[in-house]
Structures are given as C-alpha cells and as structure tokens.
C-alpha cells in the first residue's frame, strides 16, 4: 500500500461496508421513512409560508420559492454530517464494528468510504422526500430540477469526508456537539439558505463563499429554475472540496485506527 497516496487503500470492498449499513437501515425502515417527509414540511409551512408572508420577494422569487430548494440542499449537508459523526463514531468507538471489519480484507479506507457512501445514500433518501414535498406545493419550476435528485447523492459525497475528518479527531461522543454548533448551525443559517449572502457584511460574505453549503444551495436553486449552465463553477468547487477532505479523512482515520 502506497503511504503517500491516501486514496490507494480504497477498493470495491467499501461497497460491502455500505451494504452492511443498508441492511441495518432496512430493518428499521418503518421509523426511518416518515421523518424525512415531515421535517421539510414543517419548515416549509413555518418558515416559507408563515415567516415568508412578511418577506418581500427575493430576486423575483417569493420567499417560499427562495427557500424550497435550499431545504433540499440543507439535507445534502445534514444527512452525511449526522451519519459520519454520530453514526461512524458509535460504530468505531462503542460497537467496535470498524475493528471487526478491518480484521478482514476490508481496509480502514474501505470502511471510511463505505460510511461516506451510506451518508450520501441517506441524503438521497431525505433529499428526494423534500423534493416530493416541494413538488406537491408547486414550488418546482423546471423539469431540469429533477437532476437535483441524483445530485443529492453526488454532492453529499463531499460532506461525509468533512464529518469523517472531525470524527477522526474526537476522543468522546460529546465532542460531536461542537461540530453541530460550530459547523452545521452557521452553515445552515449563513450560507445563503434563508437569505442571500449579500445581506451579510463583506467579510462574512467571503467566509460564506467558502462554505460548501453555499455552493450546494446555488446548484439546487439554479436547477430548480432550469438554469443548467449556472451550476458548473459551484460543482467544481464541490468536487475540489470533496476530494480534499476525502484525502484528509482517509489519512487521519488510518492514523487513528492503525497505530
């Protein structure tokens, strides 16, 4: 195994790790399937129609039209973030599932990748649920918006590694709280989800630009109105961000587990 190339430990066996998570998910299907539909519904009603009735149109969109695609974008972030912090840490630390897996031809890089794939799978499920809800409310403006669904999976692949990198550092589960408070909440509120980043002071706009969620929201909003051409610079940023954190997460997890 080449130590200088962090990707070299990844193989097709990561799919078996994904399958393990999928099996467990299927066992708890009845409880995992309903909340993804209810959460966005409440946001849409409360923020979109409730709060939105007091907000003037943004860039030619009503407020509810403005936040609807951002709600899809936000679960592309939160689903893998949750899975690759709480989910992965519990398996690594408490259940020793990582240990059991890497005593087989599965490598630690395969385990990390399998968890990231599964996080993306959760984003696909939850993103699709929200898409169905906003479609039901007539908030989907173009047939091209359907591309958001596969992109839920693809874009979520960039978020799993960030969470996995954080998980590779923490000694105890309660440290996950910092991740939620310092990473998830600011992104959720300030990355152009509920108001355009132009409302922020210049320095904060610059910070917001570096947030992956800002680009994910842009992509979702562009696709929702059929602006396919507008997504590519944001896509490029997501790819670069994803590959960067993926490499770091692989390297760090190997260091943590095999010592």
């Amino acid at each position: 195994m080449n130590n200088l190339n962090p990707y070299s430990g990844v193989s097709h066996r990561s799919f078996y790790v994904f399958l393990r998570h999928y099996d467990v998910f299927m066992k708890t299907l009845s409880t995992s399937l309903i909340p993804p539909f209810l959460d966005p519904l409440f946001y849409l009603l409360g923020m979109g129609y409730g709060l939105g009735s007091m907000v003037s149109p943004i860039k030619g969109m009503t407020y509810v039209e403005f936040i609807a695609p951002a709600l899809v974008a936000s679960v592309i972030m939160t689903a893998p973030f949750f899975e690759c912090t709480v989910g992965s840490f519990v398996r690594m630390h408490f259940q020793k599932t990582f240990d059991a897996m890497i005593a087989t031809p599965v490598s630690i890089e395969d385990v990390v990748t399998g968890d990231i794939l599964y996080g993306a799978g959760r984003a696909l499920l939850q993103g699709t649920a929200i898409f169905i809800v906003i479609m039901f409310f007539g908030l989907v403006k173009s047939p091209l918006a359907l591309f958001i669904i596969p992109l839920c999976f693809v874009l979520a692949l960039a978020y799993g590694p960030i969470a996995m990198l954080y998980t590779s550092f923490i000694p105890a589960i309660n440290y996950v709280d910092y991740f939620f408070t310092l990473i998830i909440t600011p992104m959720f509120l300030f990355a152009g989800t509920f108001f355009p980043i132009e409302q922020l002071p210049i320095w904060a706009q610059k910070v917001a630009w570096f947030m992956p969620l800002y680009h994910t929201v842009n992509i979702a909003r562009d696709l929702n109105v059929g602006n396919f051409a507008g997504i590519w610079d944001d896509m490029l940023w997501m790819v670069v961000c994803g590959l960067f954190f993926y490499a770091l997460a692989l390297w760090r997890m190997r260091k943590r587990m095999l010592k």
Partner: protein, 305 residues
C-alpha cells in the same frame, strides 16, 4: 512441518516503550501455538501485528509467506480473527453477523449461507439464529466470534484470550470446540493467561513477560525442564523454616517461596514430604508440577499490574 508464520526480531514501540521487544518465533502449519503471559506482556500486540491491525516498528513478520506490512489484504484473507473484545455487530442478528462478515471476505452468497448454517450448528448456536447480539450470554458471544472467524475457511485461526471472562461451563464448551477444530488440521494461535488452557490446548507455546520471550517449548517439556515432575507445597511461617527445609533436603532441590507458601520442586512430592516429617510442617500438599510453576519461576514472581 512447514513454517506458516515467522517473526524475526519483531519490535513494537509505543512512545519509546517496547510492547514487543525483538521477538523471534516460528509457527508451523497445523499446530496449536500459544502465547502465554500476564496482562501487558505483549501477547495481544503480537496478535494484532499478525492480523495487520498494528504495524510493526521494526523487524519482519511473514504470514504464509506474505509480509504483513506490504500485503495486509492477502494476509487477512487467510486469517480467522477472534479478538479479545466483543466486536460482534449489535445491529444485526446472529445469522446476520455471519452473512455480513462473509461479504467482507467475498464468500459467494450460497456458499456463505451454507457455511453460516454449518458453523452455527458446530458452535451449538442454531436455535439462536435470529436472536440479536444483546440477548446472547458471554459464552454464546464467544462461540459466535469463533464461528465468525471461521466463515472464510481460514488457514490460520487467531484467538486472543478465547475464554477470559467466561464461567467454567462456558469455558469448557469453548475448549471442546477448539479441540474439534484442532483435529480438523487448522493452525491455531492463541493467547492466554490461563495456564490450564495452554496446557490443554497448545502443542507448543512461548512464555512472555515485558515484551520478551522467556522460554519456548511444549507444555510437558517446559514443566520437565524447569520444575520436574511434582511440587510439594507447605505454609510459609518465616525464613528460618525455609532454611530448615533447605538443610533437610540438600542442594539438589529448588526451593522457592512467595506469598504465604513454600514450594519444593521434586520428582516425588510424597518421598520428599516424608523426609521433612520431623519439621511438623503445616498444610502440606503434594501435586503435579504445572505450567504455572514454570511461569512463576521464569517471571520471578514480580507483581504485574
């Protein structure tokens, strides 16, 4: 006898401290090989180096001709690993654990189902097939860990303290399963700090302390070389008593004292006892020499935490 695992000058250091300190050993195909020693002796570290969980600091470790550093996937493919800690998947059933694990080893589906059923039968777990892990007893978990370790038809089975924490019944059941396995010809490597376990199961073993090998050989050979046939034990009163015993027996005998007992290593405890009758010794017991005597002699009876 083909060597299947060879370690040459194997070292593992943590923050400058040697957990495993320049160790050499060779394990042959088809034997049961034991690593015996107290907690912290380095046994588990060696196991983890064999199954590529802990990278060696220095030295060479070959498993079936493959270097553990260069070909971890190849090494792990031929191993069955039964770790000390329960690493069963609590989100899955007994059967689900075996099937999921078989996928990591890329055992084809039909073959995996057949093996899972056969292993459950072999480990007396068939009626627990659809039970979740939480509801298994300690002994059942250990048997399932062994079954899981066998799902890929390994050439070598590694057992790290297979009976630690089990009650006597569960321990004897695990021993009888391991005896069956031994007869099937698989190479078994185990660590233990139970001398009785090593005595019952191991063809050959090494005794370890502080990351070093103190001695190696078959259990019988080790006992005969270091202790002799039998041991006479009496209550310790004071050093004067030890001196009196030494005077009565002469230099031929090894006499040792630790804790509240004095030990005389001999070929006939009964005959030796009769020579000490005039001392009016208390709580005299005559017994066969064991690996524990060897172990205590070699480690110098230092207290290990």
């Amino acid at each position: 006898m083909n060597p299947i695992i060879t370690a040459r000058s194997l070292v593992k250091k943590y923050d400058g401290l040697s957990a495993v300190d320049h160790i050499d050993f060779t394990i042959h195909e088809g034997e049961v090989f034991g690593f015996l020693g107290p907690n912290g002796a380095g046994k588990t570290t060696i196991m983890k180096m064999i199954y590529c969980y802990v990278p060696p600091t220095a030295g060479q470790l070959l498993v079936n001709g493959l270097n553990v550093v260069k070909s971890p996937r190849g090494v792990k493919a031929i191993l069955g690993v039964v770790p000390q800690e329960d690493s069963l998947d609590p989100d899955l059933t007994v059967y689900g654990n075996l099937i999921t694990y078989s996928r990591y080893h890329e055992v084809p589906g039909a073959e995996a189902r057949e093996r899972a059923n056969r292993l459950l039968e072999m480990m007396s777990l068939t009626e627990k097939r659809n039970v979740i892990i939480e509801n298994l007893s300690g002994g059942m978990k250990r048997r399932l860990l062994i079954a899981r370790g066998l799902i890929n038809n390994p050439i070598i089975l590694i057992l790290d303290e297979p009976t630690t924490g089990l009650d006597p019944q569960a321990r004897h059941l695990v021993w009888s399963k391991l005896k069956e396995l031994k007869n099937s010809g698989i190479t078994i490597i185990l660590t233990t700090h139970y001398m009785e376990e090593a005595d019952r199961l191991c063809d050959r073993l090494v005794m370890m302390n502080n990351g070093k090998i103190l001695d190696k050989g078959s259990p019988v050979d080790l006992v005969r070389r270091h202790i002799g046939k039998e041991v006479l034990e009496v209550d310790y009163v004071d050093d004067a008593l030890v001196g009196e015993i030494r005077t009565a027996l002469g230099d031929k005998f090894t006499i040792d004292h630790y804790g509240d007992r004095v030990y005389v290593f001999t070929d006939s405890a009964h005959e030796t006892a009769s020579r000490l009758q005039h001392l009016n010794l208390k709580a005299v017991s005559e017994r066969k020499a064991s690996l524990e005597d060897v172990f205590l002699m070699l480690t110098g009876r230092t207290l290990v935490d």
